[in-house]
Symmetry: C2
Subunit: 518 residues, 2 copies
């Protein structure tokens, strides 16, 4: 059997990754670039929980269940073990690629019985280490669950499998006169199931709201393999508790999302983007309140970035700024149903903003191509940052007035020990992306950043994760944004829905304090 054969090849490697329990392996044979990533279990000294270890008979079972869709052993499995940022790395030996909900059900029923841990994985674009294993969790990939189930052209309701890539869905619904209610930089890779599992925010939230409003239904397979069919296509349904909400944003720890029903807004007839330079963050804020009042219902995005971000996209990606050098840049998007009206609103606003000195330079795009160019300046900051070395990423919700103070304070605090401290994000939603770069990871720099960044955020009643989730990297800091009682309740929900804890272990919820002897 192919899977079993592969398994045997990988078996030597399998014994390596044991965290504190065993000796870490020497050099592993991974994908290019992956092998340099330090294993999560080593860098963070995590203790493996007492799950069963996948064995040959398990591979054989899965291979019978989905022949040819089981990857076992190196090197095929390696890319699934490492996150997009190359910041965390698991040592799973087994990737399963189900095509149907029934297969997911059978996989989980089996794993539940055997006490095998499972790491659900979508497009693996997460930024907090939630999408890759920490140890040898079996990776359950939604890559082959990519079918559109239905689309209603009257209501704009799309029903599809969890593994559909966001950009493909966007293209599909745009052909029918609609758009997806969310858009994000990772759209070319991320899966809609992963978007929902992490409650992704992104670039359109200001206008179309969060997935908690636009996701109408979900199909989920629970830890024991039972399927929960709440895949309705209704705008309103008040029959009992809204169970699907619990799975939105639970990062695969409560169930595996297998299908999604989502409300798509109509495609706007006119889209305009303005890219502006501001001389201070105070002007960025004043520009926001002014444009919100003057653009009203057509405002669909208000993004900002500082000059450091612009420097990085220019240097690493060879993009060029369309406006004169400024301490801050703002990207404003309008989406509406009437080109003339929208342009008039935008022009009125721009005139006001220029004459009152809110902005000092600016450019406007109305055609698709130029709009994409302007958006890429903002969307590709994340990518530009990865060229800098190791990136410490923070995704913070704050009252807008205080949004940039955190960047300034952090810059002063770290001084020369950081290469760069940059701030950008979804200002309209009060969401700052604070990023700190250094040549490589160091415990000491991390200690200078954390818990300072979380304490600072908590003092302003902010959230330590606005949209990225907690995943592996932030889970121990949940108490900075949630009271003890809330965390206890979350743990009760987890225990109720996944009593053996096999679903995405080591993620989202804090681990129990380690006992001194082990």
């Amino acid at each position: 059997m192919a899977g079993a054969a592969l398994w045997r090849r990988g078996a030597a490697w399998l014994r390596g990754c044991r965290g504190k329990e065993g000796k870490a392996p020497g050099v592993s044979r991974g994908c290019a670039g992956c092998r340099e990533v330090v294993r999560t279990c080593e860098r963070y000294a995590v203790r493996r929980l007492p799950f069963a270890r996948p064995a040959e008979r398990d591979v054989a079972f899965f291979e019978r269940l989905m022949p040819g869709r089981v990857l076992a052993g190196q090197p095929e499995v390696e890319p699934f073990n490492v996150d997009w940022l190359k910041s965390v790395r698991g040592c799973s030996q087994l990737v399963l690629k189900p095509q149907t909900t029934a297969e997911v059900s059978q996989v989980l029923r089996y794993c539940y019985e055997r006490n095998l841990a499972v790491n659900p994985q979508g497009g693996n674009t997460g930024l907090v280490g939630g999408s890759v294993p920490v140890f040898d969790e079996i990776i359950l990939s939604t890559a082959l669950m990519n079918q559109i189930i239905s689309f209603d052209k009257v209501s704009g309701i799309l029903v599809c499998q969890a593994g559909c890539v966001l950009e493909r869905l966007s293209e599909y619904v745009e052909e029918q006169g609609f758009i997806m209610p969310l858009d994000l930089g990772a759209k070319g890779s991320c899966h809609i199931g992963g978007n929902v599992a992490t409650n992704a925010g992104g670039l359109r939230l200001l206008r179309y709201g969060s997935l908690r409003g636009t996701v109408l239904g979900l199909e989920v397979v629970l830890a024991d393999g039972s399927a929960l069919d709440c895949l309705t296509s209704l705008r309103k349904d008040n029959t009992g508790y809204d169970l699907k909400q619990l799975f939105i944003g639970s990062e695969g720890t409560l169930g595996v999302i297998t299908a999604v029903s989502i409300l798509c807004p109509q495609k706007p007839k006119a889209v305009n983007v303005a890219f502006l330079g501001c001389q201070s963050f105070a002007k960025v804020l004043e520009t926001f309140t002014t444009c919100r009042a003057m653009l009203g219902e057509i405002l669909s995005a208000y993004e900002f970035m500082d000059e450091k971000c612009m420097e990085l996209v220019e240097r690493h990606l060879k993009l060029s700024s369309p406006v004169a050098d400024s301490p801050f840049y703002v990207l404003i998007e309008t989406s509406g149903s009437n080109t003339t009206h929208d342009e008039e609103k935008l022009n009125n606003f721009l005139e006001r903003a220029m004459t009152s000195g809110l902005v000092t330079d600016g450019t406007v795009a109305t055609d698709d191509k130029k709009i994409k160019v302007l958006w890429s300046l903002r969307e590709r900051i994340t990518e530009a940052l990865t060229h800098e070395g190791y990136v410490y990423k923070y995704d913070i919700s704050l009252p807008v007035e205080k949004l940039y103070d955190l960047v300034t304070d952090m810059r002063a605090r770290l001084g020369q020990s950081a290469k760069n401290v940059v701030g950008y994000g979804h200002l309209g939603d009060g969401n700052l992306h604070l990023n700190i770069t250094a040549e490589s990871y160091s415990h000491s720099l991390l200690d200078a950043i954390e818990p300072f960044v979380y304490e600072w955020t908590a003092r302003c009643s902010g959230s330590i994760s606005a949209e990225h989730g907690l995943g592996f990297k932030k889970r121990q800091f949940i108490q900075y944004s949630k009271p003890r009682k809330a965390v206890l309740l979350m743990q009760q929900f987890k225990a109720m829905l996944d009593p053996k804890g096999i679903l995405n272990p080591y993620k989202t919820l804090p681990s129990a304090p380690e006992r001194s002897t082990g």
Copy 2:
């Protein structure tokens, strides 16, 4: 002690309401009009669950806790026992009016220990019997929890206690240039806490989305008296599971909402309302798709009513139709930031609708007063219906194409046995209000309607409660809209959060099947 004295006066009455356990009382001394309402426990033959019965020492405890804010015994308590529709009636002897979360906590801690059942009550405007007791549950009224805690003029985020009346909140935020994200006919009485507890939909959902998106935070007291503080004021927060969602729409069965944080949209600078006559339901639908495309982002409501509804508001409320008699009427509201643009969009649409024969008559209002008059035709249908006798109310989500077929089918089915069968509702959200009137309640008419109406809805994959909730009246029918697995999970959540089941018993979730002997 005043409370205890009142209690003694009411004590004889107390012994009456025992459902199957004891003899029903003769004539009760209630508020005017209330005494005619048949007790829920009699009409529906409900069995009282084995909660403790409130006794004098309990009243004394509560009176010490909140002196002067305890109502015990008749006749003060009677209005709290009967719903707005005068269709269900409990026999509680005790109303508590806490002012603070700490008081709610103390009340619930006490009730939990004593095994006393509690019925949380807001403005008592619910339509499914969820807001009044069935037996002698202690009524926990939010009437005195009516303080605004904070309002941020930059973000539009309002934080307030649960007992604030929606209309007062609307007035308050409008003075600051914002509006509440929800609006409904009952706004003059309903409490925001009740709105959230029932996930109220209403007239603005089409534009501003559901409370699941606009409610940013909640403070909730759980059954055992512990408080859960998730009262954040952040647009985005992905730190762990979104616990507040479980309480939104749980109808007071999982916890008592004590405070709400909610995102208010900016007040539109221009509002227009068009009231139109259509010759068929097919034209109503075509008018919808046309106006959605032409009005785009400024469309804020699309409501419809049939000619029977118009007849009833004319007859009972002396309102007059502003347009020529038509089989169907449509109310379209636009809300935008630019008067000239909005009027141009609306006029273009109306011209298209008239010339293409979609609508045969219409009127437009741009000033507040006339707008209110037009809205009252739609908003006051519920009130007009109560003048007809007994009203069987159904609140159904359906694919819009099939929305009115249910009314036609029901009308044909019931023939002369019903006085009226009318249909109206939030067409833009796929939400039909089907109402059937008769001189008085009868089991046989109910049997002709149910389960037919639920089976019809289930065949179309609709929801048997779009926005009203399940409350007391619909809870046994949940399986028409939710699979068995979902109901089981809901019951597990209930058991986890309220192990003794003291919070709003007999509501939302179906009762366990009765044993044949008892």
